[in-house]
């Protein structure tokens, strides 16, 4: 397949030095996405992730992961961002996992908000095994050096939710929907770290409330926008009738 080949020299973007598949900048229904991590990296990182419940998001987990994959302690130099690479691995793999059993395109048309809720819940539940360590991950994610990567990943996740839920908006709401959903998801994730209820039912309720509020705000903003547009049009027409050339 085209994607599994290393990128063509003439088309190499600046980030492609090595013979790794390039990142693709568009979505294709026909071809699978190229894997986000090289085989060795994903072997070490997935092994490291299994040590997170005991060691936390720390260098110790990364070193244990390297050893499990048959590498040396010093091989962790493959990951210049250190423990943050485990966090990033978790975020990327879980985001891509959402697509595997997403609601089929047939039942998307009628209930996008319900689909979004299901997807967001499924993604939150993927944090269950490491939830007691997730605050360490949040600390790493909000470190200034890693902030651009974290925000990008959050935007991609929000986009994935809306895409899989079947949203096809192409107006300015494309941006507001994604920004709003990103804020709601991030706050739910933070809420979950202190949620002691059985099977995280409180987080579920929290998420449902926030999404309902979001819908309300969207309606309100839409209404205010329509009203403001109407008024502006009226004002322009009024001024024109007074002979002002607008």
């Amino acid at each position: 397949m085209v994607n599994s080949k290393p990128c063509h020299a003439a088309l190499k973007p600046s980030s492609c030095v090595r013979s790794k598949p390039c990142r693709r900048l568009y979505h294709s229904y026909e071809h699978e996405r190229p894997p986000p991590f090289a085989p060795t990296e994903s072997r070490i990182l997935s092994a490291a992730l299994s040590h997170v419940p005991t060691h936390g998001f720390a260098t110790a987990a990364l070193i244990q992961g390297a050893r499990d994959a048959g590498y040396l302690d010093v091989s962790t130099n493959l990951f210049p961002t250190g423990p943050f690479s485990i966090v990033n691995y978790h975020l990327v793999t879980q985001r891509l996992a959402l697509a595997k059993d997403a609601p089929s395109t047939n039942d998307t048309a009628n209930n996008i908000s319900e689909n979004i809720r299901t997807l967001a819940l499924r993604r939150l539940h993927a944090n269950k095994p490491i939830i007691h360590r997730w605050q360490e991950a949040l600390a790493l994610l909000t470190t200034p050096a890693h902030l651009p990567t974290s925000l990008r990943e959050l935007a991609l996740l929000s986009d994935e939710f809306l895409f899989l839920a079947g949203s096809t908006d192409v107006t300015s709401t494309w941006y507001t929907n994604r920004a709003g959903l990103a804020v709601i998801y991030a706050s739910a994730e933070l809420y979950m770290t202190t949620d002691m209820s059985k099977d995280f039912v409180e987080t579920e309720e929290f998420l449902t409330r926030r999404l309902a509020e979001g819908e309300k705000v969207k309606g309100l903003v839409g209404g205010v926008g329509a009203w403001a547009g109407m008024q502006a049009g009226g004002l322009v027409d009024g001024l024109r009738s007074k002979g002002i050339w607008i």
Partner: protein, 315 residues
């Protein structure tokens, strides 16, 4: 308002530029000339290599580099401080800290696995700058008192300078620190797959055949071992580059003349920096030797004046 003057000046300038151009030459002549030049170039490339801006026979480079470093060994540290305004110390600290040598304390206490002490090979590390930092980091940061460093250098004068300096460190005479006189392209005294971490700081640009040295590094490293290189590189910012070139070609040979009494050696130094491949090319060379590159493959220090390259040998 200044437009007429501007036009006059630029018209004058362009006339001068056009006049300065070479006269018209027919296509067939220029093609023949280009072919001749290319052949000459190919003939030269077969036998010679860079020594700064000069072309010298490959067999000669080793001895000429040797002469440079024998000449500068005694004033090496003072000169490094003066030339880099003490910044080379920060770069070396950053290099060692990012490598995190030594066994990690939390993992070495785990009952499940018994880690073997690390063996670190510091190539072109004659004065021990990197070696002492490695041992210090392993001992004080990771509380690892078993890992050892082998310092290798082609130049006996630099090695004896390092040995002299090691007397002031806690590792003088201990088995954690050893010295080898060797050419980095032929490390026959080092066994295959015996090294955890191979480092070369400000050395690789003096090697006659860099690719051969990289292959040799690949041979001596254990699977999963790390190749790490700190070297002068290409500055990304044009303004900074201008200032930096001014400093390196203007001030450094002068400092060399005044402090070390040796202008030629320091002229060679700045020329060899200029001749060293860019970050991207060098990362390609590391990958060609068989290493996996991290993402991003290198780290620029001070906008690319120096860069840290790493590669991991696949298992």
């Amino acid at each position: 308002m200044s437009t007429p003057t501007f036009w006059r000046t630029s018209a004058h300038l362009s006339r001068r530029l056009i006049a300065a151009k070479q006269p018209y030459r027919c296509l067939s002549c220029s093609v023949r000339l280009a072919q001749e030049l290319a052949q000459e170039q190919a003939k030269q490339d077969a036998k010679t290599t860079h020594f700064g801006f000069e072309h010298v026979p490959e067999s000669e480079k080793e001895s000429r580099v040797g002469a440079v470093f024998s000449s500068v060994a005694s004033s090496y540290d003072t000169m490094n401080d003066l030339m880099s305004l003490y910044i080379h110390r920060l770069w070396k600290d950053r290099f060692v800290r990012s490598l995190n040598p030594g066994l990690h304390p939390t993992t070495s206490s785990l009952p499940s696995s018994k880690p073997t002490p690390q063996t670190i090979l510091d190539i072109a590390g004659g004065t021990g700058d990197i070696a002492f930092r490695m041992l210090s980091h392993a001992s004080t940061i990771n509380n690892d008192h078993t890992s050892r460093v082998i310092v290798s250098d082609i130049n006996p004068a630099m090695l004896s300078e390092g040995k002299k300096r090691s007397l002031e460190t806690p590792w003088a005479g201990s088995e954690r620190l050893s010295w080898v006189e060797a050419n980095a392209e032929k490390l026959h005294m080092i066994e295959d797959e015996s090294i955890d971490l191979y480092t070369v700081a400000f050395g690789i640009r003096n090697f006659t055949n860099k690719q051969a040295a990289l292959s040799e590094a690949f041979r001596v490293l254990k699977p999963g071992g790390v190749f790490a290189c700190l070297e002068f590189s290409k500055v990304n910012n044009a303004v900074l580059n201008g200032a930096y070139k001014r400093w390196s070609f203007g001030a450094i040979p002068l400092i060399g003349q005044l402090v070390a009494g040796d202008r030629e050696s320091y002229q060679y130094l700045v020329e060899s920096i200029e001749k060293f491949p860019s970050q991207r090319e060098f990362a390609g060379m590391i990958e060609r030797a068989g290493f996996m590159l991290p993402e991003p493959p290198w780290e620029d220090l001070m906008g690319g004046i120096a860069a840290i390259h790493k590669g991991v040998k696949p298992v």
